[in-house]
Each structure stands twice: as structure tokens, then as C-alpha cells.
């Protein structure tokens, strides 16, 4: 299922003094099975774009095609459920959405809303709880007794249990420790590789972009200023630094090696690529 933005504009609270234009003529395509990263400053419109992906917001002009459905400014709010089932969104700090008495019920909540029977929903809860790395003993516990990181996992399991085709992640690892971050990102990579899930990742961590994404969108002040594969986008390090977006650690390191006189066929973006490039040189000196 592709999601296509065509000339999407969005304004918050139009026709009032609180009016605020956030998106300008956005054209982008989230292809089925791809891993997309959305990067940009805070306030560049990332979260707003994200809410267009499952029609939580409707464009002020232009339209968004989500699979078969086209969302236009005139689309009414009824019958959007099928879209919401296909596109699961994990919001920033998703642990704030937990509310049921037990972890099991909370994870089952989403599927039940989309018409899955009680027993099946609990089965799904069990399956996805295991997937996010918590054992079955957690099913009967109250979500409010868990640590922040565990709550995060439960909340993410709650979205995954809806079995969406497209998974949208808004800084899913913000506030996690390095180990938790790595585990989380590995889970998403698994879903992408094994279950062929389409992923849209909003992040400030360029290392994650370099490691996982196969397409990058760069936003600035509500405009799409650059898009392409990570190789293409990270090629121009100057430009990125100007925009204060940051560069993957490996690329920055390679750049410094280049300044010392070493040259690479193509700029390595991940630690592995960098290591490979260095090994290939077989210990030659500068």
C-alpha cells in the first residue's frame, strides 16, 4: 500500500489570529515495503505530516492518497477506521496512552476496536508482548506498575497488535537508554525485513537514518527541501551542517580522515561500511 502526498498544504486553525501555516506543497511517496526516515528541526512539520498518514489531520489543500482512499480537505470523518487499521502510529512517548487495568487488555484494545474478537485479541497481545521482549508474566500486570521503558514496549506492542501494513514511528527511542534503543530499533528492523512492513521513522538521530532507512526526507520550515537515498542526502555534509541537521558519526569520521588525505570511493555512512572501507585498504598508511 503506497501513501502519496500531492501538493499538500496544511494550516492550523485557519481564519483566526492563531492561524499557523505548517506545511507547504508537500509531494512525497511512501512506497510499499520501504523504510523511510523523516528528518528536520523541531517545528519543521514532521509531526504534522505524520498525522496526515492516517487521516488524523486532513490537508487544507491538496490530497493524500492512502492505498485506495483519497483524503481531500472535504473528506468527512466517518469511515476512516479501515485506514487507521492499515497505518499504525507510535507517537512520541507512547507510554502516555496506556489506560487499561492490565497490560494484556491494553495491547488487545486496538485490535478489539477494529473488530477482532476478545480471545483473538488476547492471543495477539501475547504474541506482540513477546515480540517487544517482555515475557508472558507481564500480561496480567498493571501497566502503571512498570518502568518507563517497559511501558514504552507495551505501548508499542499495542500498536503492533493492530497488525498495520504501515508503521509510523515518531522518535520511538526518545528517552531510552542505549541498550533499550538498540533493542527497539532491532525490533523495527525485524518487522521491516521479515514481515515486510512499510516503516516511516521520524528521528533526530542521523545514525539511525544511516543504519536503517532506505529513503530520507529532509524538512525545513514546512517545506520538503531534499529527499533521496541516505547516500545521496548525506553526500553533501556541508549542506547538512549548514542546516544544523547533523551527520552520521561514521560519515563525520570519514570526512575527517579525508581531510587528513585519505580518500574513499564513496562516503561510508555506517560504522560497518567505514570498517569495511578501512579493512579494504589493508592497513596502508595515509
Amino acid at each position: 500500500m503506497d501513501i502519496v502526498f500531492e501538493q499538500v498544504n496544511f494550516t492550523y486553525q485557519p481564519d483566526s489570529p492563531f492561524e499557523q501555516r505548517v506545511l507547504y506543497d508537500i509531494n512525497m511517496t511512501v512506497k510499499e515495503g520501504s523504510y523511510n526516515a523523516l528528518v528536520g528541526h523541531t517545528g519543521s512539520g514532521k509531526s504534522t505530516i505524520l498525522q496526515h498518514l492516517n487521516a488524523l489531520l486532513k490537508p487544507t489543500s491538496g490530497h493524500v492518497k492512502i492505498g485506495e482512499r483519497t483524503i481531500t480537505p472535504e473528506t468527512n470523518n466517518k469511515n476512516l477506521k479501515p485506514i487507521r487499521k492499515k497505518v499504525g502510529i507510535v507517537f512520541q512517548f507512547p507510554e502516555s496512552q496506556l489506560f487499561e487495568e492490565t497490560v494484556g487488555k491494553d495491547i488487545a484494545f486496538g485490535p478489539k476496536n477494529f473488530g477482532v474478537s476478545e480471545e483473538e485479541a488476547l492471543e495477539l497481545a501475547k504474541e506482540y508482548l513477546a515480540l517487544v521482549g517482555l515475557d508472558e508474566s507481564y500480561l496480567e500486570r498493571s501497566p502503571f506498575d512498570l518502568s518507563g521503558g517497559q511501558m514504552r514496549r507495551v505501548a508499542i506492542a499495542g500498536v503492533l497488535a493492530m497488525e498495520p501494513e504501515v508503521l509510523v514511528l515518531d522518535e520511538p527511542t526518545a528517552g531510552l537508554d542505549p541498550q533499550g534503543r538498540k533493542e527497539m530499533m532491532a525490533i523495527f528492523e525485524h518487522l521491516h525485513q521479515v514481515r515486510k512492513m512499510t516503516i516511516v521513522l521520524v528521528t533526530h538521530l542521523m545514525d539511525d537514518v544511516a543504519d536503517y532507512a532506505d529513503y530520507v526526507y529532509v524538512l525545513e520550515k514546512g517545506k520538503l527541501v531534499k529527499d533521496g537515498t541516505p547516500e545521496a542526502v548525506f553526500q553533501d555534509i556541508r549542506w547538512l551542517e549548514e542546516k544544523q541537521l547533523g551527520v552520521p558519526t561514521a560519515a563525520a569520521f570519514a570526512k575527517r580522515l579525508e581531510e587528513k588525505g585519505m580518500s574513499f570511493k564513496k562516503l561510508p555512512l555506517t560504522a560497518d561500511e567505514l570498517a569495511d572501507a578501512l579493512v579494504a585498504r589493508g592497513g596502508q598508511s595515509l
Binding site: Q13, S16, P17, F18, Q51, N54, L56, N77, K78, K81, R84, K85, V87, G88, I89, F91, P94, S96, Q97, L98, F99, F109, G110, N113, F114, F144, G158, V159, M162
Partner: protein, 265 residues
């Protein structure tokens, strides 16, 4: 949802009304509600109407805002006006049907009540649109201060008020966020019958309560860590200044009162 709520919102600006001392604005707004009951003929209503519109003009806030402030109360106004028109006797009778009658006095009263409602709403909207919430709570603290004599916890109340006001926008954002998250999980907040709608609110309310309590806990700890021990011996950073224009505003109101007393029957 939140966008429609005009009453209680502040619009930054730099007009004469914006710059008035919040105490003057608060007192005069309440006073206005008091003196509007003095008006009992069309001359006095005209005076108050012109005065209100002049204040609105001075505030430089878009007039549409004031109209939108009236909208949520429109049904109450219409209901009251209709009751007045249908059940007041006296004067010439225009129309009669059973217990209902439309009379000269009834129509007159209806119009007066309508004006009264609209003017009061305009004035209170003007107060909130031109005064930042924090200034408002400072003003309330100042005005309540004499109550200290009867051991009324003025400091605590005003602290509660400023914290509450500070967190209104935060909680609104939070509500919006949680609503979105639950909508993304298939909750429909606007569909179904009353019971279904009430049930749909649970996934919104529980997280909101939890986060409010967490926030309160964190805030209390942070306040203690910064040396807060209650009102005793605390100084004030935000000091209110009474200027000449505030005295003038009070004088204008005094003059208005005399004019009203002179004009009324």
C-alpha cells in the same frame, strides 16, 4: 474542539486596554456587571452599549472574537429572552394564546435582557482576551489579600490558581495528543450513542489523570528542590504597577455610574 473556545483565551496585543493594570480591569469588569442592573430604559442601555463598543474598539481585538464568545451561550440567551417575552404582562397586549401573551412590557424586557447578556459577555470576553492569565491571578491575589485577616489561605489559593492557569495549555496539548493516539488505535470519539461516547472517553481520561498526578508530583518535588516552603517570607517577582491611566479608568467608571443614575427612570 479546542479552537472554538474563545472565552478564557488571551490574545497578545499592545492596546490601551492591554496595558491597563489587571486589578483595574478585574474590578471594573465585575463592577460593570453590577451597574448594568441600574440600566432600565433605552437611553441607559444605549449609553452602556456605546461604552462597551468603545472599549472593544480600544482593545483593537477583532470584533468577530466577541461575537464568537457569545455563540456558546446563544441558546441560554434565546431561552431567557423567549421566557421574558412570553410571560411578562403589562402595557399594550399584541398577541395572546392561553397563558402566553406578548405585551409591550414583555418585548421591552426581552430586548433589555438580551442587551444585558450580550454586554456582560462582551465585557468578560474583553477582560480575558486582553489580560494574560498570570496577571489575572496576580490581580486576584491582590484583591483577596485583606482576607488574610480571617485566615483565608490567600497565598495558597493564588499559587493554585497560577499553577492551574499555567497548565491549562499543557493539559490541552496533552489531551489532543492522547486523543490522537487513541484515535490511531481505533477509538471514535464522535460516533455512536451517548453510552458509547461516554465509554470512548475512558481511554482519554485515565491517561490524563495519570499524567496530571505525575506532573503534580514532579512539580512539587522541583519546587521543594528550589527552596519553596510556602507563602511565609516569600517575595514577589511580578509586581503590579498602578498607573495614572488606571485611575482614569476608575474615574470613567465613576462617571458612567453617575450618568446611569441620572438616565434611569
Amino acid at each position: 474542539m479546542m479552537n472554538k473556545l474563545i472565552l478564557g483565551r488571551y490574545i497578545p496585543g499592545d492596546s490601551l486596554i492591554h496595558r491597563l493594570d489587571p486589578r483595574a480591569k478585574l474590578l471594573t469588569s465585575f463592577y460593570f456587571i453590577g451597574i448594568i442592573f441600574f440600566a432600565n430604559n433605552w437611553q441607559s442601555y444605549l449609553l452602556l452599549g456605546v461604552f462597551t463598543l468603545f472599549c472593544v474598539y480600544l482593545s483593537k481585538v477583532d470584533f468577530g472574537f466577541f461575537l464568537r464568545g457569545v455563540r456558546p451561550l446563544l441558546w441560554l440567551i434565546l431561552f431567557t429572552v423567549a421566557l421574558q417575552i412570553l410571560f411578562t404582562s403589562g402595557g399594550r397586549v399584541y398577541w395572546e394564546w392561553g397563558v402566553f401573551q406578548v405585551t409591550e412590557f414583555g418585548v421591552q424586557n426581552g430586548i433589555f435582557i438580551f442587551c444585558r447578556f450580550v454586554l456582560i459577555i462582551f465585557m468578560s470576553t474583553l477582560l480575558t482576551l486582553t489580560t494574560p492569565p498570570l496577571e489575572l491571578s496576580d490581580a486576584i491575589e491582590f484583591i483577596l489579600r485583606p482576607l488574610n485577616a480571617i485566615h483565608f489561605p490567600v497565598h495558597e489559593i493564588s499559587l493554585m490558581l497560577s499553577i492551574a492557569l499555567r497548565f491549562v495549555p499543557t493539559l490541552m496539548d496533552e489531551t489532543e495528543k492522547i486523543m490522537n493516539a487513541q484515535r490511531a488505535r481505533g477509538v471514535d470519539f464522535s460516533e455512536g450513542n451517548l453510552i458509547q461516547k461516554m465509554k470512548a472517553v475512558i481511554p482519554l481520561l485515565i491517561p490524563l489523570f495519570v499524567s496530571s498526578f505525575n506532573r503534580a508530583d514532579d512539580l512539587a518535588t522541583a519546587m521543594e528542590a528550589r527552596g519553596y516552603q510556602g507563602g511565609e517570607g516569600r517575595t514577589k517577582y511580578r509586581v503590579l504597577h498602578w498607573h495614572q491611566k488606571d485611575t482614569i479608568a476608575i474615574c470613567v467608571y465613576a462617571f458612567l455610574t453617575f450618568a446611569l443614575i441620572y438616565l434611569r427612570d
